[in-house]
Symmetry: C2
Subunit: 319 residues, 2 copies
């Protein structure tokens, strides 16, 4: 029954936009009787979606959190927000999530209506991509590459090697890998007949992408090591120890518990321990706190901050 399926989807959509719905409301929206709504709710339940119901004057239906994620029905604005959010996450704010973000992004952008895609791109340009060290990667490029990996499509791109020379490459892409702050593409270079690793920030893809290919045996390097996302067990690479010259209470206002551990020193200062995988990220973060502070550890961070301070001094005075 085509209409039944469509109605089930609409019902799911309604249950997602608001939390509580009375049976009569739903019946009205769906253009059926409440008996049919009850039957549809039953169908959703037997599909595995937990629809809670409560009786009485304040009763109604409510979609709960179940074992599996139901299909997400987003409106246009929400879809744009998701795309923007994923592009940000692909940029690497959180360790280990980037590759999954790119995958989800590829999935979303495949079905994103073009008017929304334009909106996403427009908003993207309003972002200030964090320069970090080295060049940043265009999320749109990542998205294209991820799609070719998934679909086993050949990829053609211009590549600038470290000497600045440009070459046109034709590859069978295998996997996108994110390490440190860089993205790499592991692919089989057709012309050179061998596996190569390309820095994504140095390549610009050509459209349209090439024909499909049958995946070949990956080189038995430790690609498996890349594949294990190890979301949780990532101890921080750098552990910063600081003295903040502000009262503990004020510091607590600024620094959420997840960002770092605060310990009181005296009435006007406290100790802060904060971890990060990136020295630059840590430096930037501590610099943004608007109070006087001292760095105790790690030593690299001290020199990094000293250099940064000198640079900023010159930047601000030599005008």
């Amino acid at each position: 029954m085509l209409e039944t399926s469509a109605r089930l989807l609409r019902l799911l959509s309604l249950l997602q936009t608001r939390r509580d719905w009375s049976g009569a409301d739903l019946a009205d929206r769906l253009g059926v009787t409440d008996r049919t709504v009850r039957r549809d709710v039953d169908k959703l339940r037997s599909l595995g979606y937990p629809v809670h119901a409560s009786t009485g004057t304040t009763g109604g239906y409510r979609l709960g959190a179940g074992a599996a994620l139901p299909p997400l029905l987003l409106d246009d604005e929400e879809a744009v927000a998701v795309a923007i959010g994923l592009r940000g996450a692909a940029g690497g704010t959180v360790a280990g999530i980037e590759e999954t973000s790119v995958r989800a992004l590829a999935k979303l952008e495949q079905v994103l209506p073009s008017r929304l895609r334009n909106q996403v791109n427009a908003l993207q340009s309003a972002m200030l991509p964090l320069p970090g060290r080295g060049p940043t990667v265009d999320p749109a490029t990542l998205s294209v590459i991820a799609a070719t990996c998934r679909d086993h499509e050949r990829l053609r791109f211009d590549y600038r090697d470290h000497d600045g020379d440009h070459t046109l490459r034709q590859v069978e892409p295998l996997r996108l890998v994110h390490t440190g702050r860089r993205w790499y593409l592991v692919a089989f270079d057709v012309d050179r007949d061998d596996w190569r690793t390309f820095r994504v920030d140095r390549l610009t893809p050509r459209t349209p992408t090439g024909p499909r290919f049958t995946p070949r045996e990956p080189p038995d390097t430790d690609l498996a090591a890349y594949t294990s996302y190890k979301l949780s067990n990532s101890a921080y690479r750098y552990q910063g120890v600081f003295t903040l010259h502000m009262p503990l209470a004020a510091a607590t206002e600024q620094i959420t518990a997840t960002a770092g551990v605060l310990e009181p020193l005296d009435d006007t200062s406290c100790t802060l321990r904060a971890g990060s995988n990136s020295l630059d990220g840590l430096a930037m973060w501590i610099a943004m706190i608007g109070c006087e502070f001292q760095v105790h550890s790690p030593p690299e961070l001290v020199t990094r901050l000293a250099g940064l301070a000198a640079r900023l001094t010159r930047a601000a005075t030599d005008t």
Copy 2:
């Protein structure tokens, strides 16, 4: 037909995970004959989802971008990535998108299985929330408030006013508003019998949330002005002009075209113009570029950077 609906959803899911599928593959995966697959594809099409098909030996089915967004079927990892991305976007990287992000987040978190929610929270703590000026807001709090606004549920929370006094509030939430770098909640304070505006970073919600209420007439302030997202026409508040002491080619590598406009000066330096709505954001961003530079404009930025540099110098030397 329950099974038919489930199959349609699975088919949609399959079409989203890979781009090209042969009819035989799909039939195999779905456990039906290819004739039925064809019929199902037809059903999807008449539901409005554009399923392209091509014949020949390389033929197959492919889900295209249509007028409306199909329901997104994400796997666990992808759902986590989306949630993380949305939480980041709600933090305000892009102007105008925050409120929509929070809405989408509320929608997602309502149906997110608890094991995934735990994962999201764990990953969240791995992020270094940008401290900016002033305290940051917990995305989980935003999510809770957004849900109560949507569902017309009373909200109880502890509130710290600017004197540091704590009060227990009970309100009928109306809307979350994001301006500048702050989140505000516009709500009707039940005990004080009047409309109030609360800073979200100063409140901690209590669970469970209260009973439902019937929405009352909003105060006829210019809430409409908040509501207009004005995604595009946002000219930047600050326009930074810099001289970078690095060759144009090297600068182009680091600074994507969307981030700023580069003009050559001589062989070793170039001019950069970059806009931002936040002075701190701009300061941080320019500081992250790893080369010598000078600030020309705006003057506030010069003083901001000078102050920052002085602070960093003290931080790095007084150990």
